[in-house]
Symmetry: C2
Subunit: 194 residues, 2 copies
């Protein structure tokens, strides 16, 4: 092996996730992803032989796991702390990028493929959403929420965050996220029983 650089591969994935979160999947070219990661175009097809779809899939999973790790850790202190961390995480992304970046998982979800089948990247996006919901839902149940109640609330939290992030980008303001946050916090407090 040339370099001990499995770092190159990961750099490409992380860069792809960032670019997709800003411009969407279809508007992000492989050439730009490569350049953004300071990797040659050839390397892209070396690491990801299945091309753009594979790269997108891995970018989605990369983001999904990164968020899930953070969420898992913060949820140890309870659902309210978990929610706060979840909100803070996205708030930072939106604000630090000057309202230019969002969630790559959402971006991939809303770009229909020409084909009739569900592309792997969209399947990965669905899995990521489900995992985030599961983490929140489990924590809510541990704190006294009913099964159905917990599932509904978890879905609402994920959906509301994804939605507000997009609204914040359109409005060039963090207000939507902060407003929804208030309601979500109150709702969780009213749902858990301790």
């Amino acid at each position: 092996m040339t370099k001990p650089s499995p770092a190159a591969r990961e750099r490409i994935v992380a860069g792809a996730a960032d670019m997709i979160s800003r411009r969407g999947l279809n508007a992000t070219s492989i050439r730009e992803m490569a350049k953004h990661a300071r990797a040659p175009l050839g390397s892209t097809y070396h690491y990801f032989p299945e091309g753009k779809q594979q790269l997108a899939t891995e970018a989605v999973r990369h983001t999904g796991e990164w968020v899930a790790r953070r969420l898992r850790k913060e949820l140890e202190a309870g659902p309210v702390a978990g929610l706060r961390a979840f909100l803070a995480l996205w708030r930072k992304i939106v604000v630090d990028s000057d309202f230019r970046a969002g969630c790559p998982v959402l971006a991939v979800s809303i770009e229909e493929p020409p084909t009739g089948e569900t592309p792997p990247a969209v399947v990965a996006a669905a899995d990521v959403f489900t995992e985030w919901e599961s983490l929140l839902s489990a924590s809510l149940r541990e704190h006294g929420a009913g099964r159905e109640e917990a599932a509904q609330l978890a879905t609402l939290v994920v959906a509301a965050v994804e939605g507000t992030v997009a609204m914040c980008r359109a409005k060039r303001s963090i207000e939507p996220l902060d407003r929804a946050a208030e309601q979500l916090r109150a709702l969780i407090l009213a749902t858990i029983k301790d």
Copy 2:
């Protein structure tokens, strides 16, 4: 004039909104929009001399007003009825398209332009979100909700719907929307005072 067709222009706008809601803005070419509306490419630049940005802007506004009209009408029966109609509207779009269509306003919101300035289509998207929120918020206040409370809840509803629609598309399931709907309904009932 050749035809008494001011219909052509509107057909292009409506078609553009539909295509953008499925594939995103950047992945939808002007040629495809024209073909989808059975209009010649030349007509596109005749009706929309400022090109793709103008077409996207009008598509966003078209969708925004269409939804706002429906919302305004149903809100006459109160916030709960308004919410139900809002949810039903998006539910129909998602289900009827077999999870392939979503919201063009969201799609436009999350595709950053290369330039430093906010493109007109994104500004239009922000305005649309604000209008939907205003309608909901006003109705909530008419039914006893406080100013801040109403604004927060209105933002949460819009964000949650936009988010769930995307989640439904990724998962190829209507469940996320229906789950969030339950929570939103309960939340509104608990907030209004009559």
